[in-house]
């Protein structure tokens, strides 16, 4: 009975409710967190790096390796798309220079799965780590973030331009 009621309600609001959930939860979350929500990098898990977004990185993780597409990136909102090509469940960490402070982490990357770690990173030196088997120190490597104009979202930046371009093409598609 409940499920019927719910599904009917969901159908009624289907489109607006998504935006509603998204915006309201983002607002709810981000209010106390300053900026809990962030823009997803245009180059996503599909590995579409054609645009050459220097902040969209890929990580190929296996049971014995942790290969990053690049070991440096400009500061701002960086996306690590971590693909697990091994047989063990893995985790990906971005540590501070001391190798202890967790800057960001994504868990539960099962074999065959790609998951993204999205985070705002300040210029500086960092350490990346894959943890196949979810234990130990993991496979570590240095990572550096150079100073750039973009300190997170806002302002004149690549993401903004790309977003505008997406919107233009969406309008074009609609008018066709």
């Amino acid at each position: 009975m409940i499920t019927i009621r719910l599904s009917r309600r969901a159908r009624l609001f289907s489109l607006p409710i998504r935006t509603l959930i998204l915006t309201s939860t983002c607002t709810l979350v981000s209010l106390p967190l300053l900026a809990g929500c962030t823009n997803n990098a245009p180059a996503g898990s599909t590995g579409a790096t054609a645009g050459g977004n220097p902040r969209a990185l890929t990580v190929q993780a296996t049971d014995s390796e942790c290969k990053l597409s690049t070991t440096s990136a400009p500061s701002g909102t960086i996306t690590f798309a971590v693909t697990n090509g091994g047989s063990k469940v893995t985790e990906f960490y971005l540590y501070g220079e001391d190798g202890k402070r967790i800057v960001g982490e994504v868990e539960n990357i099962g074999p065959g799965i790609t998951r993204e770690l999205v985070l705002k990173v300040e210029p500086g030196n960092y350490i990346t780590a894959c943890k196949p088997g979810m234990a130990g120190d993991g496979i570590r490597a240095p990572f550096s973030v150079s100073d750039s104009d973009q300190q997170g979202s806002g302002g004149y930046d690549i993401q903004l331009v790309e977003r505008a371009e997406r919107q233009i093409s969406a309008v074009r598609r609609r008018s066709d």
């Binding site: 998504r18 823009n39 997803n40 898990s45 469940v89 967790i102 539960n108 065959g112 998951r115 705002k120």
Partner: protein, 289 residues
């Protein structure tokens, strides 16, 4: 497949156990009319988690690491509060079952109606977002063009399914044992679960830098209990046992477990002593007959 199966099992187990104990309790104590509230709580948690997870996965906005950890951590701590309330509410309602009037019990139960929905909602929703993000990532793997495989999604779904089945078996088993034993065991069991959830929440907040001491370990038995093993999965899934536990996690666990269990057992003793002191009267009354 197996690894993804174990993730699904781990993420689903604890929620399945809490909900099945709650349902078993309501059925055993003749409060079936409160069941819709439980299912509503579960349905909302699943819908919001999947919806929010999908929006974050496929939409233009993502969630920062800190925000996700803070959600997980705070929801865990709130969940501990509600599960603790549930333990003592069940115990209190059990006491009133023997002594007080039936109408009084039902009034009390009605007042707690929405709290029950929230318990179910939090039990499922606590790790719902992380599970949803994992499931959607597995779905992406199944749906993308080249090298797509449904293996991970299938494994994850099977894991969740097994968690639900285990919950159902616990429910069936719980129906068979007598009520007072049921309260003692489920109560004690839930206290251990809640202590684990609290420790987990503390760890999330430590990871997000809201609490210090992430690298200050109390013990590390990852060698003896690998997190990828089936027993590591069960320990993590049911009791949130982390092979590498920080000092603050251990303090939180003990700081919750010791007083809560003490109060619970003390109340239980009072409960069992209470009726026994009263028993002579009915016996005397029947003797007069």
């Amino acid at each position: 497949m197996l690894a993804n199966f174990l993730i699904g099992l781990r993420e689903g187990l604890e929620a399945a156990l809490i909900v099945s104990i709650l349902v078993a309790y309501l059925v055993k104590s003749g409060r079936r009319h409160l069941l819709p509230q439980i299912w509503l709580g579960v349905a909302i948690a699943v819908a919001v988690s999947l919806g929010f997870g999908a929006a974050l996965t496929f939409g233009p906005k993502g969630l920062t690491f800190e925000a996700q950890e803070l959600i997980g951590g705070l929801l865990s701590i709130v969940a501990v509060g509600f599960v603790t309330w549930m333990i003592f509410w069940m115990a209190k309602a059990a006491r009133s079952l023997s002594g007080e009037l039936r109408s009084q019990i039902d009034k009390a139960a009605d007042a707690s109606r929405w709290s029950l929905a929230i318990v179910a909602l939090l039990a499922v929703g606590r790790e719902g977002l992380e599970t949803a993000l994992f499931l959607w990532a597995a779905t992406q793997t199944a749906a993308q063009g080249t090298g797509s495989t449904a293996g991970p999604l299938l494994g994850a779904a099977l894991g969740l399914l097994v968690a639900v089945v285990l919950g159902y078996l616990i429910y069936r088993g719980a129906l068979k044992i007598n009520l007072s034993r049921f309260f003692t065991w489920t109560g004690a069991f839930l206290i251990v679960i809640a202590a684990g959830v609290l420790a987990y929440g503390v760890h999330d907040l430590q990871e997000a830098q809201f609490l210090p001491g992430l690298n200050n370990l109390a013990f590390d038995v990852s060698g003896a209990i690998p997190p990828t093993s089936w027993y590591g999965t069960l320990l993590k899934g049911v009791f949130n046992f982390s092979p590498a536990t920080t000092v603050l996690e251990a303090i939180a666990w003990l700081g919750y477990f010791i007083p809560t269990m003490t109060i619970f057992l003390y109340q239980k003793r009072q409960r069992t002593q209470g009726p026994s002191r009263q028993t002579p009267e009915p016996v005397a009354a029947s003797g007069r007959k």
